[in-house]
């Protein structure tokens, strides 16, 4: 059987979170009653003209610089002509042959190795509106149109066909999302559509230099969907070739519920967009000094930050990657480390209990009630021996639920650790007296019996006894008895 190589390139649309739309003053806010964030310009009424929102250009340049692109000195807008009811002018103002930026890249980790994925180009364009149907588009007796999204600024980021597996494609998209979020120009929420992704996929016999015929896959609405759709499509293409068939160049749509890609339109049915220069806008001549000013305001990006964490905090690479996955997580970590120098302890709590609770409540770190100060105060309580590691887990859950300070929780619930040897010794004596059979088992070599005795002491002290003291005293007293 022939071995195949997979070739994937992604086209990613990112909504920029400027306050107003790309060519008019209407709000870009997500949600809102239908057709309330509109004006004559974004509705494409007769006679109106677009005026470029300079903030959009600034944000697009910011994203492009973060993705290591060259910013064009001369760029322009073009019209992409096609008819659809969610597109008020029946053309989209986009950029065709002179995009804002070219020749960028980002790095992904593949089996512990860094791999560079090329970015061909980044251009600006306006978003379209949304059609709303009763039931499905096929059965609805009418279509309603909501133009709130019309004219929301987008950048389209086109990658080189550099990815070799669905996993790499997913890693690329995740990394792209992280970098864009770091720059602060977009929320990149796939579920709200502020990050959208189409894929070009082909396969070829391993060792072949020529590309196979590609298909374009649309309608993948999550990272998981992207990976599943690509895996399905790769298998489908290989199966077609193995049966002696040919791949048809076409656009296919991912059916999430059936788990398959389905034909949407063939190459012959593809639109002729009749691109031509947008005569209502003047060409962009982009000042180099302005580009450098924007570059100077770029934050530390995920790769740099990750490397710094490894070097400065001596963290394992895995920890550093997880802690820099979003700017907010990394900021939280650094606030903690500023208050409490044991970076590995902070990392363990953030990647452990904090992460688990956030996932369980479907929250992100910006919604977390526990402040970095509170988390580190709790770590200090542990260091001082006020609470044990076991109690700390209980305290932390309470902090997460209520946002209260750890000291307050410890006091209210009486969770202060018992470190008085006499108090613990008295409990140990009681436990040994009422469990003579277990002590016997232990002395015969049954190690598990010791654990039971520890448990009984902890139970009697409601978990507050210092575990090391309990262990020591139990051992001492058993051996002195025998």
């Amino acid at each position: 059987m022939t071995e195949y190589e997979t070739i994937i390139g992604l086209e990613v649309h990112v909504e920029l979170k400027t306050k107003s739309k790309i060519f008019c003053p209407s709000s870009t806010e997500f949600g809102g009653d239908p057709n309330t964030h509109v004006c004559p310009v974004c509705l494409g009424l007769p006679g109106v003209l677009p005026v470029l929102n300079k903030k959009v250009l600034e944000y697009a340049i910011r994203a492009a610089l973060a993705l290591n692109c060259e910013i064009a000195e001369y760029s322009k807008f073009d019209r992409k002509n096609y008819y659809y009811p969610d597109l008020p002018k029946n053309y989209q103002i986009s950029q065709y042959d002179l995009p804002l930026a070219r020749n960028g890249y980002l790095n992904i980790e593949v089996n512990g190795q860094t791999k560079r994925i090329g970015i061909t180009r980044i251009h600006m364009e306006e978003d379209a509106g949304k059609l709303i149907h009763q039931g499905t588009i096929a059965t609805s007796p009418y279509s309603l149109v909501d133009y709130n999204r019309t004219g929301v600024p987008l950048i389209e980021i086109v990658s080189e066909p550099d990815m070799r597996s669905p996993e790499e494609a997913r890693a690329y998209l995740e990394k792209l999302k992280t970098i864009i979020q770091y720059t602060g120009v977009s929320d990149c929420k796939m579920e709200e559509g502020s990050l959208r992704c189409d894929a070009n996929v082909s396969v070829r016999p391993k060792g072949s230099r020529e590309f196979g015929t590609k298909t374009e896959i649309k309608n993948m609405n999550s990272f998981k969907a992207l990976q599943r759709a690509l895996a399905y499509e790769v298998e489908r293409q290989i199966a077609v070739l193995e049966e002696g068939g040919r791949i048809i160049q076409e656009t296919r749509t991912w059916d999430e519920s059936k788990g398959v890609t389905l034909p949407m339109r063939s190459k012959e049915e593809a639109h002729d967009y009749r691109y031509f220069p947008e005569p209502d806008l003047v060409p962009l001549i982009i000042d180099r000094r302005w580009v450098e000013e924007i570059r100077a305001t770029l934050p530390e990006l995920p790769d740099e930050r990750r490397n710094r964490y490894i070097k400065r905090y001596d963290l394992p690479a895995y920890d550093a990657t997880v802690l820099t996955a979003t700017k907010e997580i990394a900021d939280y970590f650094e606030e903690c480390v500023a208050l409490y120098p044991n970076a590995k302890a902070v990392s363990n709590w953030m990647m452990g209990d904090l992460s688990r609770l956030l996932n369980a409540h479907n929250m992100d770190i910006t919604q977390c009630k526990v402040s970095p100060r509170q988390l580190t105060d709790m770590l200090k309580l542990m260091d001082r021996g006020t609470i044990s590691g076991k109690i700390a887990k209980t305290v932390f859950e309470e902090m997460f639920a209520t946002g209260k300070d750890p000291e307050q929780i410890v006091q209210e619930k009486g969770l202060v650790q018992i470190t008085d040897e006499g108090t613990i010794a008295a409990v140990v004596d009681e436990v040994l007296a009422s469990n003579a059979k277990v002590v016997e088992d232990y002395l015969k070599g049954k190690d598990r019996a010791f654990g039971f005795l520890v448990g009984q002491v902890m139970k009697a002290t409601r978990g507050k006894a210092n575990p090391e003291l309990v262990n020591r005293l139990l051992r001492e007293k058993i051996h002195s008895q025998s």
Binding site: G44, P46, L49, N81, Y83, P85, R274, P279, D280
Partner: protein
């Protein structure tokens, strides 16, 4: 002379002297409309009530001793492709028969600020596509000088309204000659300013890179006053020129001594009616006698202007007119099976034949496989044409040519022959491709029909055009003749 036949600055003087009120001027114009509109048919919509309310406001200001701007109380007609808030704006198309804009075009705002009184919205070739106003989706407009003849187009309603005394001044739009050609046919002054001099915001686009708004007036002084009122940078139009504009009335000097006037031989050759050439020749003699230096020159790429124009203008139009699909406003075919059927039926029925012809031509010119051969080639020709003018203006202050190859033609004469119709803009198209200003002024008469002469200037040098036109007007009285209706 009757009030309705005076100029704006004459009426302004009467207002200042309190010899007449703005309301009386308004009444005179509407009485005139009542008398002749049935024959001329210049208007799609009249805004009579609003006009009287506005005129009374102006009168109150005068009575209160307030200073009024020069165009205050002057009845102005607006071409029906310029958006007016709360007033139907149809582009003389069935497609927009019921469209009421929720906003004013910038020029409309500026004219209101200047105190003018809007009389109504004038008839035009549908979406400004045509040269006779016969392509109106509603009715044709007649030439006030000869009701059997066309007023020119596409701003035929505006030109006819000024010529017939149904407005004192008017606003039109010019994409390939649509102000200058009807001005010539109707014996009035028509100016197409430099591209970017007047905001296009609110002008329903035909060809965005060529469209420009400009005035129709009865003399050059009024033209300068109107240009003062409507020009200037507009943040709502990215293509509008930055910077301040001069007071154009300061250019109104009776002096052309030493001014270099070039006469492009391509505009005086084949295809130009000898009688028109004779009129232009006489005008040149007059200007020479006043001290202008006149010399023949050449614009070698002129013969490519018409094909280049009809590729660029139609390409842009095919995209600009895509929004008329029945989804949001205007006409919608109600018997459609689905959305594509609705698009097709709406556009098939809503647009007239000339608009459809141009949309098809423009769509073709932009299509994959034809773009380079047609649209891109036309853009290159456009650059060459612009360079022709640049070279000519190294030597000359203005260029002078006929505005049209013939005086107004008969109604119906060219309706079955689009190419012949297109040829009537042969002297004006190149000016739009180059983005430079052009003015048409009455230069004489042939068989009782007005003949226009076109002055073409350097970018943003409307001042010199006005100066030459003003000087000519001081020594010839063609602009003071009125049609008998």
């Amino acid at each position: 002379m009757e009030l309705y036949y005076l100029t704006a600055h004459e009426l302004h003087d009467l207002l200042l002297k309190k010899e007449v009120s703005a309301e009386e001027i308004c009444r005179a114009v509407f009485d005139r409309i009542d008398a002749v509109e049935e024959k001329v048919k210049a208007y799609v919509t009249l805004t009579r009530e609003r006009a009287f309310t506005r005129a009374q406001e102006i009168d109150r200001k005068i009575a209160a001793g307030e200073e009024i701007p020069p165009l205050a109380g002057i009845p102005v007609a607006i071409k029906d492709n310029i958006c007016t808030r709360g007033i139907r704006t149809t582009c003389s198309s069935k497609m927009l028969y019921n469209f009421v804009p929720p906003y004013n075009a910038t020029v409309v705002e500026k004219l209101e600020a200047a105190g003018t009184v809007m009389v109504g919205k004038t008839n035009m070739d549908e979406f400004a596509m045509g040269s006779s106003t016969e392509n109106s989706g509603f009715f044709a407009t007649a030439n006030p000088w000869d009701l059997e003849r066309v007023p020119g187009g596409s701003s035929g309603g505006s030109a006819a309204a000024v010529a017939a005394g149904e407005a004192i001044t008017a606003i039109g739009s010019d994409t390939g000659g649509s102000i200058r050609q009807p001005a010539a046919f109707c014996g009035v002054i028509g100016l197409k300013p430099t591209y970017g001099a007047v905001s296009r915001y609110g002008l329903v686009a035909f060809a965005s890179s060529l469209d420009q708004i400009g005035p129709f007036t009865r003399d050059v002084t009024d033209c300068a006053l109107m240009l003062n009122a409507i020009s200037g940078h507009d943040p709502l139009d990215s293509t509008s020129a930055p910077g301040d504009v001069p007071d154009f009335t300061s250019c109104l000097k009776d002096d052309v001594k030493g001014l270099k006037i070039g006469v492009p031989r391509e505009y005086m050759g084949e295809g130009i009616d000898p009688a028109v050439k004779e009129v232009v020749g006489q005008a040149l003699k007059l200007l020479a006698s006043l001290g202008a230096e006149i010399e023949e020159t050449t614009l070698p790429h002129s013969r490519y202007a018409l094909p280049a124009y009809y590729l660029i203008a139609t390409a842009e139009a095919s995209s600009n007119l895509a929004r008329y699909d029945g989804v949001r406003y205007g006409y919608r075919a109600e018997d459609a099976r689905d959305v594509v059927d609705m698009f097709m039926k709406t556009r098939s029925r809503g647009f007239g034949p000339e608009v459809k012809r141009r949309i098809m031509l423009g769509t073709y010119a932009l299509s994959a496989g034809y773009y380079d051969a047609y649209y891109l080639k036309a853009l290159k020709v456009r650059t060459l044409i612009k360079q022709d003018f640049d070279r000519a203006f190294e030597k000359f202050d203005v260029l002078l040519a006929p505005t049209t190859p013939t005086p107004a033609f008969k109604r119906g004469e060219k309706m079955d022959d689009p190419l012949q119709m297109y040829m009537s803009d042969i002297c004006t198209l190149a000016v739009n491709l180059a983005g430079i200003p052009g003015i048409s002024i009455p230069a004489g008469f042939v068989d009782g029909l007005p003949v226009g002469m076109q002055l073409i200037g350097k970018p943003f040098d409307e001042g010199t055009l006005l100066r030459v036109a003003y000087t000519f007007e001081q020594h010839a009285d063609y602009n003071r003749r009125r049609p008998s209706l």
